[in-house]
Amino acid sequence: MSVDLDLIHRYRRSTLTRDELVKVELELQRSPAWRSALNDTVDAHRLGATWAAVEGSLDAPTPSRLERAATRLGAPQHLTRIMGATPNLRRAWMVSAVVLLLFGLAVSNGERETATIALFLSIAPLVPVFGVGLVYGPGADPAHEMATVTPMGGLRLVVLRTLMALLTSLVVVGIAAVLVEERSILIAAWLLPAVALSAATLAVSSFVPIRNAAAGVAAGWLTLVVIWARIADDGVAAFRLPGQLVAAVALAVSVAVIAARRDAFSRAVSTT
Protein backbone atom coordinates (compact mmCIF):
# COMPACT_ATOMS: atom_id res chain seq x y z
CA MET A 1 0.00 0.00 0.00
CA SER A 2 1.38 3.42 -0.93
CA VAL A 3 2.03 5.88 1.88
CA ASP A 4 -1.03 7.86 2.90
CA LEU A 5 0.34 11.18 4.16
CA ASP A 6 -3.02 12.26 5.52
CA LEU A 7 -3.10 9.19 7.77
CA ILE A 8 0.51 9.85 8.82
CA HIS A 9 -0.26 13.43 9.82
CA ARG A 10 -3.39 12.41 11.68
CA TYR A 11 -1.42 9.63 13.38
CA ARG A 12 1.00 12.26 14.71
CA ARG A 13 -1.90 14.38 15.93
CA SER A 14 -3.57 11.31 17.52
CA THR A 15 -6.83 11.92 15.67
CA LEU A 16 -7.19 8.52 13.98
CA THR A 17 -10.14 6.24 14.51
CA ARG A 18 -9.41 2.90 16.14
CA ASP A 19 -9.44 1.03 12.81
CA GLU A 20 -7.24 3.62 11.13
CA LEU A 21 -4.79 3.45 14.02
CA VAL A 22 -4.43 -0.32 13.73
CA LYS A 23 -3.92 -0.01 10.00
CA VAL A 24 -1.21 2.65 10.35
CA GLU A 25 0.59 0.71 13.10
CA LEU A 26 0.69 -2.36 10.88
CA GLU A 27 2.06 -0.39 7.94
CA LEU A 28 4.71 1.22 10.16
CA GLN A 29 5.83 -2.19 11.34
CA ARG A 30 6.27 -3.73 7.92
CA SER A 31 6.95 -0.82 5.54
CA PRO A 32 10.21 1.22 5.51
CA ALA A 33 8.46 3.76 3.25
CA TRP A 34 5.80 4.41 5.91
CA ARG A 35 8.42 4.72 8.65
CA SER A 36 10.44 7.10 6.48
CA ALA A 37 7.36 9.20 5.82
CA LEU A 38 6.67 9.38 9.55
CA ASN A 39 10.28 10.35 10.24
CA ASP A 40 10.01 13.18 7.71
CA THR A 41 7.16 14.72 9.66
CA VAL A 42 9.04 14.75 12.94
CA ASP A 43 10.97 17.79 14.14
CA ALA A 44 14.45 16.30 14.55
CA HIS A 45 15.53 18.95 17.05
CA ARG A 46 12.49 18.38 19.22
CA LEU A 47 12.88 14.63 18.99
CA GLY A 48 16.55 14.91 19.99
CA ALA A 49 15.66 17.08 22.96
CA THR A 50 12.92 14.69 24.03
CA TRP A 51 15.20 11.69 23.70
CA ALA A 52 17.94 13.45 25.66
CA ALA A 53 15.45 14.21 28.41
CA VAL A 54 14.34 10.58 28.49
CA GLU A 55 17.95 9.38 28.65
CA GLY A 56 18.71 11.95 31.33
CA SER A 57 15.83 10.71 33.45
CA LEU A 58 16.89 7.10 33.03
CA ASP A 59 20.56 7.71 33.88
CA ALA A 60 20.03 10.26 36.62
CA PRO A 61 20.26 9.13 40.24
CA THR A 62 16.95 8.20 41.82
CA PRO A 63 16.08 11.10 44.10
CA SER A 64 15.68 10.27 47.77
CA ARG A 65 12.40 10.93 49.56
CA LEU A 66 13.84 14.11 51.05
CA GLU A 67 14.94 15.32 47.62
CA ARG A 68 11.53 14.60 46.16
CA ALA A 69 9.82 16.35 49.06
CA ALA A 70 12.05 19.40 48.69
CA THR A 71 11.42 19.50 44.93
CA ARG A 72 7.67 19.31 45.51
CA LEU A 73 7.98 22.24 47.89
CA GLY A 74 9.50 24.25 45.04
CA ALA A 75 13.24 23.88 45.61
CA PRO A 76 15.25 23.83 42.33
CA GLN A 77 16.25 20.32 41.24
CA HIS A 78 19.98 21.10 41.19
CA LEU A 79 19.85 22.27 44.81
CA THR A 80 17.97 19.22 45.98
CA ARG A 81 20.59 17.09 44.19
CA ILE A 82 23.35 18.77 46.21
CA MET A 83 21.31 17.91 49.28
CA GLY A 84 21.02 14.29 48.18
CA ALA A 85 24.70 14.08 47.30
CA THR A 86 25.75 14.94 50.84
CA PRO A 87 25.52 11.62 52.69
CA ASN A 88 26.35 13.14 56.05
CA LEU A 89 23.43 15.50 55.70
CA ARG A 90 21.08 12.54 55.69
CA ARG A 91 22.99 11.04 58.62
CA ALA A 92 22.76 14.32 60.52
CA TRP A 93 19.02 14.44 59.94
CA MET A 94 18.52 10.88 61.02
CA VAL A 95 20.58 11.24 64.18
CA SER A 96 19.01 14.53 65.20
CA ALA A 97 15.52 13.26 64.44
CA VAL A 98 15.92 10.09 66.45
CA VAL A 99 17.70 11.75 69.39
CA LEU A 100 15.24 14.58 69.69
CA LEU A 101 12.12 12.56 69.19
CA LEU A 102 13.26 10.08 71.83
CA PHE A 103 14.17 12.97 74.08
CA GLY A 104 10.81 14.59 73.50
CA LEU A 105 9.00 11.38 74.30
CA ALA A 106 11.10 10.77 77.39
CA VAL A 107 10.43 14.15 78.94
CA SER A 108 6.86 14.59 77.77
CA ASN A 109 5.45 13.23 81.01
CA GLY A 110 8.05 14.68 83.31
CA GLU A 111 6.85 15.95 86.63
CA ARG A 112 9.45 18.72 87.06
CA GLU A 113 8.29 20.91 84.21
CA THR A 114 10.83 23.72 84.55
CA ALA A 115 13.73 21.28 84.58
CA THR A 116 12.26 19.50 81.56
CA ILE A 117 11.93 22.71 79.61
CA ALA A 118 15.39 23.88 80.65
CA LEU A 119 16.91 20.63 79.47
CA PHE A 120 15.02 20.75 76.19
CA LEU A 121 15.88 24.40 75.54
CA SER A 122 19.55 23.79 76.31
CA ILE A 123 19.91 20.81 73.99
CA ALA A 124 17.63 21.81 71.13
CA PRO A 125 19.88 24.60 69.74
CA LEU A 126 22.78 22.13 69.57
CA VAL A 127 21.07 19.92 67.00
CA PRO A 128 21.65 22.31 64.08
CA VAL A 129 25.16 22.99 65.43
CA PHE A 130 26.08 19.32 65.08
CA GLY A 131 24.23 19.20 61.78
CA VAL A 132 26.38 22.04 60.48
CA GLY A 133 29.48 20.32 61.84
CA LEU A 134 28.62 17.18 59.92
CA VAL A 135 27.90 18.60 56.49
CA TYR A 136 31.00 20.48 55.46
CA GLY A 137 34.72 19.86 55.13
CA PRO A 138 36.84 16.94 53.93
CA GLY A 139 35.42 14.68 56.64
CA ALA A 140 31.88 15.24 55.41
CA ASP A 141 32.48 15.34 51.68
CA PRO A 142 35.26 13.19 50.22
CA ALA A 143 35.13 15.31 47.05
CA HIS A 144 35.73 18.43 49.17
CA GLU A 145 38.89 19.53 47.32
CA MET A 146 37.26 19.22 43.90
CA ALA A 147 34.04 20.82 45.12
CA THR A 148 35.80 23.82 46.67
CA VAL A 149 37.42 24.92 43.41
CA THR A 150 34.11 24.99 41.51
CA PRO A 151 32.22 28.25 40.96
CA MET A 152 29.69 27.18 43.61
CA GLY A 153 32.45 26.15 46.01
CA GLY A 154 33.60 28.14 49.01
CA LEU A 155 31.21 30.20 51.10
CA ARG A 156 28.30 29.70 48.68
CA LEU A 157 28.35 25.95 49.18
CA VAL A 158 29.00 26.23 52.91
CA VAL A 159 26.01 28.53 53.41
CA LEU A 160 23.82 26.33 51.23
CA ARG A 161 24.61 23.21 53.21
CA THR A 162 24.35 25.06 56.51
CA LEU A 163 20.88 26.28 55.59
CA MET A 164 19.87 22.75 54.64
CA ALA A 165 21.10 21.39 57.98
CA LEU A 166 19.59 24.29 59.88
CA LEU A 167 16.16 24.15 58.27
CA THR A 168 15.86 20.41 58.68
CA SER A 169 17.04 20.53 62.27
CA LEU A 170 14.53 23.26 63.03
CA VAL A 171 11.73 21.09 61.68
CA VAL A 172 12.88 18.10 63.73
CA VAL A 173 13.31 20.13 66.92
CA GLY A 174 9.98 21.78 66.27
CA ILE A 175 8.28 18.38 66.23
CA ALA A 176 10.09 17.44 69.43
CA ALA A 177 8.93 20.71 71.02
CA VAL A 178 5.32 19.72 70.45
CA LEU A 179 5.91 16.62 72.55
CA VAL A 180 7.08 18.61 75.55
CA GLU A 181 4.12 19.23 77.84
CA GLU A 182 4.59 22.96 78.15
CA ARG A 183 2.47 25.35 76.23
CA SER A 184 4.06 28.69 77.14
CA ILE A 185 5.84 30.87 74.61
CA LEU A 186 9.08 29.81 76.30
CA ILE A 187 9.00 26.51 74.44
CA ALA A 188 9.98 28.39 71.26
CA ALA A 189 12.86 30.18 72.96
CA TRP A 190 15.43 27.82 71.45
CA LEU A 191 14.93 29.16 67.91
CA LEU A 192 17.10 32.27 68.01
CA PRO A 193 19.90 30.58 70.00
CA ALA A 194 19.83 27.72 67.45
CA VAL A 195 20.36 30.08 64.53
CA ALA A 196 22.96 32.09 66.45
CA LEU A 197 24.92 29.00 67.48
CA SER A 198 24.89 27.66 63.89
CA ALA A 199 26.25 30.96 62.63
CA ALA A 200 28.82 30.99 65.44
CA THR A 201 29.93 27.49 64.43
CA LEU A 202 30.49 28.66 60.86
CA ALA A 203 32.32 31.77 62.05
CA VAL A 204 34.66 29.77 64.31
CA SER A 205 35.21 27.24 61.51
CA SER A 206 36.95 29.94 59.51
CA PHE A 207 39.77 29.55 62.09
CA VAL A 208 39.65 25.86 63.09
CA PRO A 209 38.27 22.64 61.54
CA ILE A 210 34.49 22.71 61.53
CA ARG A 211 34.01 19.73 63.84
CA ASN A 212 36.27 21.35 66.45
CA ALA A 213 34.29 24.54 65.97
CA ALA A 214 31.00 22.71 66.57
CA ALA A 215 32.35 20.99 69.69
CA GLY A 216 33.75 24.26 71.05
CA VAL A 217 30.56 26.21 70.44
CA ALA A 218 28.48 23.46 72.04
CA ALA A 219 30.70 23.37 75.12
CA GLY A 220 30.65 27.15 75.40
CA TRP A 221 26.87 27.22 75.07
CA LEU A 222 26.21 24.64 77.77
CA THR A 223 28.65 26.38 80.11
CA LEU A 224 26.89 29.69 79.53
CA VAL A 225 23.45 28.22 80.15
CA VAL A 226 24.50 26.53 83.41
CA ILE A 227 26.33 29.58 84.79
CA TRP A 228 23.46 31.90 83.88
CA ALA A 229 20.96 29.56 85.53
CA ARG A 230 23.03 29.39 88.73
CA ILE A 231 23.54 33.16 88.95
CA ALA A 232 19.88 33.96 88.28
CA ASP A 233 18.61 30.93 90.21
CA ASP A 234 16.37 30.30 87.21
CA GLY A 235 16.81 27.20 85.03
CA VAL A 236 15.66 28.98 81.89
CA ALA A 237 17.27 32.37 82.57
CA ALA A 238 19.36 32.19 79.40
CA PHE A 239 16.20 31.93 77.31
CA ARG A 240 14.34 34.96 78.61
CA LEU A 241 14.56 38.38 76.99
CA PRO A 242 18.17 39.25 77.97
CA GLY A 243 19.28 35.84 76.71
CA GLN A 244 17.49 36.39 73.42
CA LEU A 245 19.21 39.75 73.06
CA VAL A 246 22.58 38.11 73.67
CA ALA A 247 21.74 35.51 71.01
CA ALA A 248 20.80 38.26 68.56
CA VAL A 249 24.08 40.05 69.18
CA ALA A 250 26.00 36.77 68.80
CA LEU A 251 24.21 36.15 65.50
CA ALA A 252 25.11 39.60 64.20
CA VAL A 253 28.75 39.23 65.26
CA SER A 254 28.97 35.77 63.71
CA VAL A 255 27.56 36.96 60.39
CA ALA A 256 30.06 39.82 60.40
CA VAL A 257 32.93 37.40 61.09
CA ILE A 258 31.76 35.06 58.31
CA ALA A 259 31.60 37.95 55.85
CA ALA A 260 35.03 39.21 56.87
CA ARG A 261 36.59 35.74 56.77
CA ARG A 262 34.82 34.45 53.66
CA ASP A 263 38.11 33.76 51.89
CA ALA A 264 38.85 31.08 54.50
CA PHE A 265 35.95 29.02 53.12
CA SER A 266 37.37 29.28 49.64
CA ARG A 267 40.47 27.24 50.43
CA ALA A 268 40.39 23.51 50.04
CA VAL A 269 41.76 21.45 52.88
CA SER A 270 44.17 19.03 51.24
CA THR A 271 43.41 15.40 51.85
CA THR A 272 46.87 14.27 50.76
Partner: protein
Protein backbone atom coordinates in the same frame (compact mmCIF):
# COMPACT_ATOMS: atom_id res chain seq x y z
CA UNK B 1 35.96 25.73 20.65
CA UNK B 2 37.58 27.18 23.77
CA UNK B 3 40.45 29.59 23.71
CA UNK B 4 43.29 28.32 25.90
CA UNK B 5 43.76 30.30 29.09
CA UNK B 6 46.78 32.51 29.51
CA UNK B 7 48.40 31.95 32.90
CA UNK B 8 51.01 34.24 34.39
CA UNK B 9 52.67 33.47 37.69
CA UNK B 10 55.09 35.93 39.21
CA UNK B 11 57.16 35.41 42.34
CA UNK B 12 54.78 32.78 43.76
CA UNK B 13 55.90 31.63 47.19
CA UNK B 14 54.28 29.29 49.68
CA UNK B 15 55.50 27.91 52.97
CA UNK B 16 54.00 24.96 54.85
CA UNK B 17 55.32 25.21 58.40
CA UNK B 18 59.10 25.08 58.15
CA UNK B 19 59.04 23.84 54.56
CA UNK B 20 59.41 26.32 51.71
CA UNK B 21 57.18 24.60 49.14
CA UNK B 22 57.47 27.34 46.52
CA UNK B 23 60.21 29.93 46.43
CA UNK B 24 59.39 32.67 43.95
CA UNK B 25 58.06 30.76 40.94
CA UNK B 26 57.72 32.66 37.66
CA UNK B 27 55.77 31.01 34.82
CA UNK B 28 53.97 31.91 31.63
CA UNK B 29 51.59 29.35 30.13
CA UNK B 30 49.70 30.00 26.93
CA UNK B 31 48.01 26.93 25.48
CA UNK B 32 49.34 23.45 24.86
CA UNK B 33 50.43 20.88 27.38
CA UNK B 34 52.96 21.86 30.02
CA UNK B 35 54.44 19.30 32.36
CA UNK B 36 55.64 20.15 35.84
CA UNK B 37 58.46 17.72 36.40
CA UNK B 38 60.37 17.31 39.62
CA UNK B 39 61.22 14.93 42.43
CA UNK B 40 58.78 14.27 45.26
CA UNK B 41 58.49 17.35 47.45
CA UNK B 42 59.64 19.72 44.71
CA UNK B 43 56.49 21.83 45.00
CA UNK B 44 54.54 20.51 41.99
CA UNK B 45 51.33 19.84 43.89
CA UNK B 46 51.51 23.12 45.79
CA UNK B 47 51.95 24.98 42.50
CA UNK B 48 48.96 23.21 40.96
CA UNK B 49 46.86 23.90 44.06
CA UNK B 50 47.77 27.58 43.84
CA UNK B 51 46.81 27.65 40.14
CA UNK B 52 43.57 25.83 41.01
CA UNK B 53 42.62 28.47 43.63
CA UNK B 54 42.64 25.77 46.30
CA UNK B 55 45.59 27.35 48.08
CA UNK B 56 46.49 31.01 48.46
CA UNK B 57 50.18 31.83 47.92
CA UNK B 58 51.99 33.65 50.71
CA UNK B 59 53.56 35.98 48.16
CA UNK B 60 53.47 36.65 44.45
CA UNK B 61 50.65 36.88 41.95
CA UNK B 62 48.86 34.46 39.64
CA UNK B 63 46.78 35.77 36.75
CA UNK B 64 44.49 33.61 34.63
CA UNK B 65 43.34 35.49 31.52
CA UNK B 66 44.15 38.67 33.43
CA UNK B 67 42.03 37.63 36.45
CA UNK B 68 43.83 37.59 39.77
CA UNK B 69 43.61 34.34 41.77
CA UNK B 70 44.10 36.37 44.95
CA UNK B 71 41.08 38.62 44.28
CA UNK B 72 37.80 37.28 45.62
CA UNK B 73 35.83 38.90 42.82
CA UNK B 74 38.00 37.24 40.15
CA UNK B 75 38.21 33.82 41.76
CA UNK B 76 34.72 32.61 40.85
CA UNK B 77 35.26 33.59 37.22
CA UNK B 78 38.59 31.74 37.19
CA UNK B 79 36.86 28.68 38.65
CA UNK B 80 34.39 28.75 35.76
CA UNK B 81 37.34 28.28 33.43
CA UNK B 82 39.26 25.55 35.16
CA UNK B 83 39.17 21.82 35.64
CA UNK B 84 41.23 20.30 38.43
CA UNK B 85 42.27 16.77 39.27
CA UNK B 86 43.82 16.63 42.76
CA UNK B 87 46.69 14.30 43.53
CA UNK B 88 44.41 11.85 45.33
CA UNK B 89 40.83 12.38 44.18
CA UNK B 90 38.36 10.96 46.71
CA UNK B 91 34.72 10.16 46.20
CA UNK B 92 31.88 9.05 48.39
CA UNK B 93 32.16 5.24 48.26
CA UNK B 94 28.41 4.74 48.03
CA UNK B 95 27.97 7.23 45.19
CA UNK B 96 27.77 5.93 41.64
CA UNK B 97 30.03 7.09 38.83
CA UNK B 98 27.15 9.11 37.38
CA UNK B 99 26.24 10.68 40.72
CA UNK B 100 29.78 11.88 41.35
CA UNK B 101 30.13 13.64 38.01
CA UNK B 102 26.54 14.90 38.10
CA UNK B 103 27.10 16.44 41.55
CA UNK B 104 30.31 18.19 40.51
CA UNK B 105 28.65 19.34 37.27
CA UNK B 106 25.97 21.05 39.36
CA UNK B 107 28.67 22.79 41.38
CA UNK B 108 30.15 23.88 38.06
CA UNK B 109 26.83 25.60 37.35
CA UNK B 110 25.40 23.08 34.90
CA UNK B 111 21.92 23.46 36.30
CA UNK B 112 19.79 22.43 33.32
CA UNK B 113 19.12 18.73 33.80
CA UNK B 114 19.14 17.64 30.13
CA UNK B 115 22.27 19.58 29.24
CA UNK B 116 23.97 18.36 32.37
CA UNK B 117 23.15 14.78 31.49
CA UNK B 118 24.71 15.19 28.04
CA UNK B 119 27.82 16.73 29.57
CA UNK B 120 28.15 14.01 32.21
CA UNK B 121 27.86 11.27 29.61
CA UNK B 122 30.27 13.10 27.30
CA UNK B 123 33.07 13.37 29.84
CA UNK B 124 32.55 9.82 31.07
CA UNK B 125 32.72 8.61 27.47
CA UNK B 126 36.00 10.50 27.03
CA UNK B 127 37.60 8.51 29.85
CA UNK B 128 35.91 5.22 28.92
CA UNK B 129 33.59 5.02 31.92
CA UNK B 130 30.29 5.53 30.08
CA UNK B 131 29.51 1.83 30.46
CA UNK B 132 29.79 2.07 34.26
CA UNK B 133 27.35 4.85 35.06
CA UNK B 134 25.69 2.87 37.84
CA UNK B 135 28.86 1.40 39.36
CA UNK B 136 29.60 2.53 42.91
CA UNK B 137 32.96 4.26 43.25
CA UNK B 138 33.96 1.76 45.96
CA UNK B 139 33.77 -0.97 43.31
CA UNK B 140 36.11 0.82 40.89
CA UNK B 141 39.78 -0.04 40.49
CA UNK B 142 42.34 2.61 41.43
CA UNK B 143 42.89 3.35 37.74
CA UNK B 144 39.17 3.76 37.13
CA UNK B 145 38.86 6.12 40.08
CA UNK B 146 41.70 8.15 38.60
CA UNK B 147 39.84 8.24 35.27
CA UNK B 148 36.71 9.34 37.10
CA UNK B 149 38.76 12.17 38.58
CA UNK B 150 39.90 13.16 35.10
CA UNK B 151 36.29 13.03 33.87
CA UNK B 152 35.07 15.52 36.48
CA UNK B 153 37.95 17.82 35.59
CA UNK B 154 36.80 17.83 31.96
CA UNK B 155 33.26 19.03 32.76
CA UNK B 156 32.49 22.14 30.72
CA UNK B 157 35.58 21.84 28.52
CA UNK B 158 37.71 24.11 30.73
CA UNK B 159 40.22 26.45 29.15
CA UNK B 160 42.65 25.69 31.99
CA UNK B 161 43.05 22.05 32.92
CA UNK B 162 45.20 21.13 35.93
CA UNK B 163 46.00 17.46 36.40
CA UNK B 164 48.06 16.34 39.38
CA UNK B 165 49.78 13.06 38.50
CA UNK B 166 46.94 11.80 36.29
CA UNK B 167 48.84 8.72 35.10
CA UNK B 168 49.43 7.30 38.58
CA UNK B 169 47.96 3.79 38.99
CA UNK B 170 46.95 3.52 35.34
CA UNK B 171 47.86 0.40 33.39
CA UNK B 172 49.86 0.85 30.14
CA UNK B 173 46.75 0.82 27.95
CA UNK B 174 44.95 3.37 30.13
CA UNK B 175 48.08 5.48 30.23
CA UNK B 176 48.31 5.50 26.45
CA UNK B 177 44.65 6.45 26.16
CA UNK B 178 45.13 9.27 28.67
CA UNK B 179 48.17 10.55 26.77
CA UNK B 180 46.10 10.79 23.61
CA UNK B 181 43.33 12.66 25.41
CA UNK B 182 45.69 15.12 27.08
CA UNK B 183 47.53 15.78 23.85
CA UNK B 184 44.21 16.43 22.11
CA UNK B 185 43.05 18.79 24.87
CA UNK B 186 46.16 20.89 24.46
CA UNK B 187 44.72 22.31 21.24
CA UNK B 188 41.83 24.06 22.98
CA UNK B 189 43.05 24.38 26.56
CA UNK B 190 46.07 25.23 28.59
CA UNK B 191 46.86 21.91 30.23
CA UNK B 192 49.24 21.63 33.16
CA UNK B 193 50.20 18.14 34.22
CA UNK B 194 52.39 17.34 37.19
CA UNK B 195 54.43 14.17 37.16
CA UNK B 196 57.71 12.72 38.29
CA UNK B 197 57.73 10.34 35.31
CA UNK B 198 60.03 11.59 32.57
CA UNK B 199 58.56 9.33 29.89
CA UNK B 200 55.14 10.90 30.52
CA UNK B 201 56.60 14.36 30.17
CA UNK B 202 58.37 13.44 26.95
CA UNK B 203 55.24 11.85 25.48
CA UNK B 204 52.67 14.58 26.03
CA UNK B 205 54.19 17.97 26.63
CA UNK B 206 55.20 20.86 24.43
CA UNK B 207 56.87 22.49 27.41
CA UNK B 208 58.57 21.02 30.45
CA UNK B 209 59.01 22.97 33.68
CA UNK B 210 61.44 21.40 36.12
CA UNK B 211 60.85 22.31 39.75
CA UNK B 212 63.54 21.61 42.34
CA UNK B 213 63.11 22.64 45.97
CA UNK B 214 60.22 24.94 45.05
CA UNK B 215 62.06 26.87 42.34
CA UNK B 216 61.96 26.63 38.56
CA UNK B 217 65.29 25.45 37.23
CA UNK B 218 64.30 24.71 33.63
CA UNK B 219 61.59 25.80 31.20
CA UNK B 220 61.61 24.62 27.61
CA UNK B 221 60.64 21.88 25.19
CA UNK B 222 61.48 18.26 26.05
CA UNK B 223 64.22 18.16 23.40
CA UNK B 224 65.93 21.11 25.04
CA UNK B 225 65.87 19.35 28.39
CA UNK B 226 67.38 16.26 26.78
CA UNK B 227 69.97 18.46 25.10
CA UNK B 228 71.08 19.75 28.51
CA UNK B 229 72.86 16.41 28.91
CA UNK B 230 74.39 16.40 25.42
CA UNK B 231 78.03 15.32 25.61
CA UNK B 232 77.51 14.06 29.16
CA UNK B 233 76.04 10.58 28.69
CA UNK B 234 78.01 7.44 27.96
CA UNK B 235 77.97 3.71 28.60
CA UNK B 236 80.70 2.24 30.81
CA UNK B 237 81.60 -1.41 31.49
CA UNK B 238 81.88 -0.82 35.27
CA UNK B 239 80.24 1.49 37.78
CA UNK B 240 82.06 4.82 37.70
CA UNK B 241 82.57 7.12 40.67
CA UNK B 242 82.27 10.89 40.88
CA UNK B 243 79.51 11.18 38.31
CA UNK B 244 76.06 12.76 38.54
CA UNK B 245 74.18 9.47 38.19
CA UNK B 246 74.77 5.96 36.85
CA UNK B 247 72.63 2.85 36.67
CA UNK B 248 73.08 -0.73 35.62
CA UNK B 249 71.61 -1.80 32.26
CA UNK B 250 70.21 -5.28 31.48
CA UNK B 251 73.43 -6.29 29.67
CA UNK B 252 75.53 -5.55 32.77
CA UNK B 253 77.00 -2.28 31.53
CA UNK B 254 76.30 1.13 33.12
CA UNK B 255 74.62 4.18 31.64
CA UNK B 256 76.37 7.21 33.09
CA UNK B 257 75.40 10.88 33.31
CA UNK B 258 78.19 13.27 34.25
CA UNK B 259 81.35 14.86 32.97
CA UNK B 260 82.82 12.17 30.67
CA UNK B 261 86.45 11.09 30.70
CA UNK B 262 88.44 11.95 27.59
CA UNK B 263 87.88 9.70 24.60
CA UNK B 264 84.82 7.85 25.91
CA UNK B 265 82.17 7.19 23.21
CA UNK B 266 79.15 9.35 24.00
CA UNK B 267 75.53 8.36 23.45
CA UNK B 268 72.43 10.37 22.51
CA UNK B 269 70.85 11.79 25.69
CA UNK B 270 67.19 11.21 26.52
CA UNK B 271 64.89 13.53 28.43
CA UNK B 272 65.54 11.42 31.52
CA UNK B 273 69.30 11.98 31.11
CA UNK B 274 68.76 15.71 30.81
CA UNK B 275 66.49 15.73 33.86
CA UNK B 276 68.99 13.75 35.96
CA UNK B 277 71.83 16.02 34.85
CA UNK B 278 69.77 19.03 35.84
CA UNK B 279 68.84 17.55 39.24
CA UNK B 280 72.44 16.62 39.90
CA UNK B 281 73.94 19.94 38.96
CA UNK B 282 71.34 22.64 39.51
CA UNK B 283 70.92 24.09 42.94
CA UNK B 284 68.85 27.24 42.66
CA UNK B 285 70.00 29.96 45.00
CA UNK B 286 67.91 30.64 48.09
CA UNK B 287 65.81 27.51 47.91
CA UNK B 288 67.39 25.29 50.54
CA UNK B 289 64.87 23.74 52.87
Amino acid sequence: MNRPAVVLAHGVAKRWGSTQALAGVDLRLDGGVTTLLGPNGAGKTTMLRCLATATVPDAGQILVDGLDVGERSDRTEIRRRLGYLPQEPRFSPKATVYEVVDYLAILKEHHDRSRRHREVVRVLRLVGLDDRLDARTAALSTGMRRRLGVAQALIGSPSLLLLDEPATALDPEERLSLREQISGLGASSTVVVSTHLTDEAAAISATVVVLVDGAVCFVGPPVALAAAAAGRVWVAPTAPVGVVRSWRLPDGSYRVVGEPPTGVPLVEPTLEDGYLWLLGTTRPAGTRR
